[in-house]
């Protein structure tokens, strides 16, 4: 009893030390936990898988560096999958640093795609139109940040090219192959195969959902773990085809595309850290019960 009472008053620095150790040790010793993809991630993956080759997908990077460790791996895995399926990602951002986040994820996804191209091509796992060297402007584009969130999405519905006369680097989008339609028609929101938003808070996927009646495009999301309960509602209502939630969502998507990335690497530290936090909650409660009993006995 006394031991638990003492534990209750444990210096919080010990708690910090245990949490740090639970994160660092699995990273150092490379524990590996099996990852089993859940329903919403599998649905997301399958939807991307079935999109017709050459489909252009709009990916909105609605987060900043604070959420990059959680959302970056998701974005990289989804972009890599899209490249392997011959899809053409068009990246934008409703958050000021969205363009930077997109640039980093695109660079990494292109690197993974190029590095695994020969092996996957030999195994026949790439879409027929896939070529080794991806060209910016033809196979993908980073359109950068635009202010307005929902207003910006509304503007895209009216005239997609209007808010994007140039990409993030200042290159004119008029000449870009990615925006060219075979029938010469101006690129419009209706040409977008699907919309994906990597959302860390407000101004993300909800900006697209709120005007879904106007754009009528299928949507999916990547969100931080704390936002899962908030956005899972849209999975249940069928407004989102799928969702990757936090680092576990990224790990599940990586598993589906057979890639060992930051998501899967992060599962061991996250698993142990969750266990440690649970352990502390249990210890805290045992101490609380012990304290209650002592108080009761004293009264009696």
């Amino acid at each position: 009893m006394e031991f638990f009472i003492k534990l209750k008053n444990l210096d919080r620095r010990w708690v910090f030390l245990f949490v740090a150790a639970s994160v660092v040790l699995p990273m150092l010793f490379k524990f590996d936990f099996p990852v089993f993809p859940g329903k919403s991630v599998t649905n997301f993956h399958d939807f991307v898988d079935k999109l017709p080759e050459g489909s252009r997908c709009f990916l909105s990077f609605d987060y900043d560096p604070a959420s990059e460790p959680e959302l970056g791996p998701s974005a990289i895995a989804i972009l890599t999958h899209m490249f392997r399926k011959g899809l053409k990602p068009m990246c934008g951002g409703n958050w000021p640093l969205g363009g930077e986040m997109a640039e980093a994820s695109l660079a990494k996804a292109v690197e993974i795609y190029t590095a695994t191209y020969d092996e996957l091509q030999a195994a026949g796992k790439l879409a027929p139109s896939c070529k080794k060297a991806l060209v910016k402007g033809d196979d993908y584009v980073n359109l950068g940040y635009k202010p307005g969130a929902i207003i910006h999405v509304k503007a895209l519905v009216t005239d997609f090219m209007g808010p994007y006369p140039s990409d993030r680097d200042g290159n004119s989008t008029k000449e870009m192959g990615i925006f060219k339609n075979p029938d010469g028609r101006k690129f419009a929101m209706s040409d977008v195969g699907m919309i994906v938003s990597f959302t860390a808070g407000t101004g993300g996927i909800e900006s697209f959902i709120n005007v879904a009646g106007d754009h009528k495009r299928p949507m999916a999301a990547g969100c931080t773990s704390v936002n899962i309960p908030r956005f899972i509602t849209y999975i249940q209502t069928g407004q989102l085809v799928g969702m990757t939630g936090g680092l576990p969502g990224a790990a599940e998507y990586e598993k589906l595309i057979n890639y060992m990335g930051k998501g899967r690497e992060g599962m061991a530290p996250q698993s142990i850290a969750h266990l440690v936090i649970m352990l502390f909650i249990i210890i805290g409660n045992i101490a609380y019960i012990a304290e209650q009993r002592i108080a009761k006995n004293k009264k009696a």
Partner: protein, 297 residues
């Protein structure tokens, strides 16, 4: 003055709000109103760009005032102003360098920006030409890297806008060091620290003092376990419990909790929030709520 400060914004708000409502419900029946609804987003985007500028200047003015009056904690304000000005200047310079470096001289040394726009490498321009689309393209030869044996000189074609002078390359690198090395790392660190505070706070405050708290803790444990792969290992262990074991799949229970009880509560919150949103909007449109005009409730 009162008219410009209060009455005119109220009139603009009222007319704009009514147009948006009418446009939403009329659909294509009123094409002129619908056209206005399509134009408004562009106006709002322009206004929002200016508000960002206004916000930036306001932040700067506030902190400069604090520094000049040397109020308590003025050192933080000084750090903010230095960081603000440095990032703004470097950002503007590195973001707009293609506008200033249009003249490419053959034989000169430049830095070729990589596709990720973050890294670059030294090159020498061997030729320049205009491509089929009328853009200036250059042939470049990679400069040998110090300490490495000179290999065959490969000529590479690149768009001229990706070339930078040594000075602009330095500006770009410095900006990237500050962004990647300081800003990005600092933000990620701040967010990561939450794990430590969550652990400490839950240890001290998460007590099962009632049935509801017990239910909350049970749900929290299932979601925490089900959200990470270790939950699958726990499920495998639970499988050996007679009768109920096979149905104790932590990941599935977690998905059920999130998809039904949690989602139902969330939907109710969303509906409530949206009703509040409509009510607040109506109050602003009809001028009942005027705090946005300067603090009057």
């Amino acid at each position: 003055m009162l008219f410009i400060k209060r009455t005119l914004p109220l009139i603009i708000t009222f007319i704009t709000g009514i147009i948006m409502i009418v446009a939403f419900f009329s659909g294509p029946a009123l094409p002129s109103v619908k056209a206005l609804e399509d134009t408004f987003p562009k106006w709002i985007q322009v206004i929002m760009s200016f508000t960002m500028l206004l916000g930036a200047f306001s932040l700067l003015r506030l902190n400069l005032n604090k520094i000049s009056r040397k109020v308590e904690g003025w050192g933080y304000s000084l750090t903010l102003v230095i960081g603000f000005v440095t990032m703004a200047v470097l950002g503007f310079m590195s973001g707009s360098w293609p506008m200033f470096e249009r003249n490419i001289n053959v034989g000169d040394k430049y830095y070729l920006l990589a596709d990720d726009s973050m890294s670059d490498r030294p090159v020498t321009v061997s030729a320049s030409s205009i491509d089929e689309e009328g853009n200036l393209v250059v042939d470049v030869i990679a400069d040998p890297v110090a300490g490495q044996a000179a290999t065959e000189k490969l000529v590479e074609r690149a768009p001229a806008y990706r070339l930078k002078s040594p000075f602009m390359a330095w500006i770009n690198s410095f900006q990237q060091v500050l962004f990647q090395g300081v800003f990005k790392a600092a933000q990620a660190t701040m967010f990561s620290l939450l794990a430590f505070f969550v652990a400490s706070a839950s240890f001290r405050a998460f007590r099962v003092k009632s049935k509801e708290a017990g239910l909350l803790m049970g749900a929290a444990f299932i979601v925490m376990l089900g959200n990470v792969p270790i939950g699958n290992l726990v499920s495998r262990l639970l499988y050996y419990i007679p009768i109920i074991g096979p149905s104790l799949d932590i990941a599935l229970i977690k998905e059920w909790i999130l998809a039904y009880p949690s989602s139902a509560a969330q939907s109710a919150i969303l509906v409530g929030a949206m009703l509040g949103y409509i009510s607040a909007s109506m109050k602003i449109i009809f001028g009942v709520e005027r705090s946005h005009l300067g603090g009057e409730g």
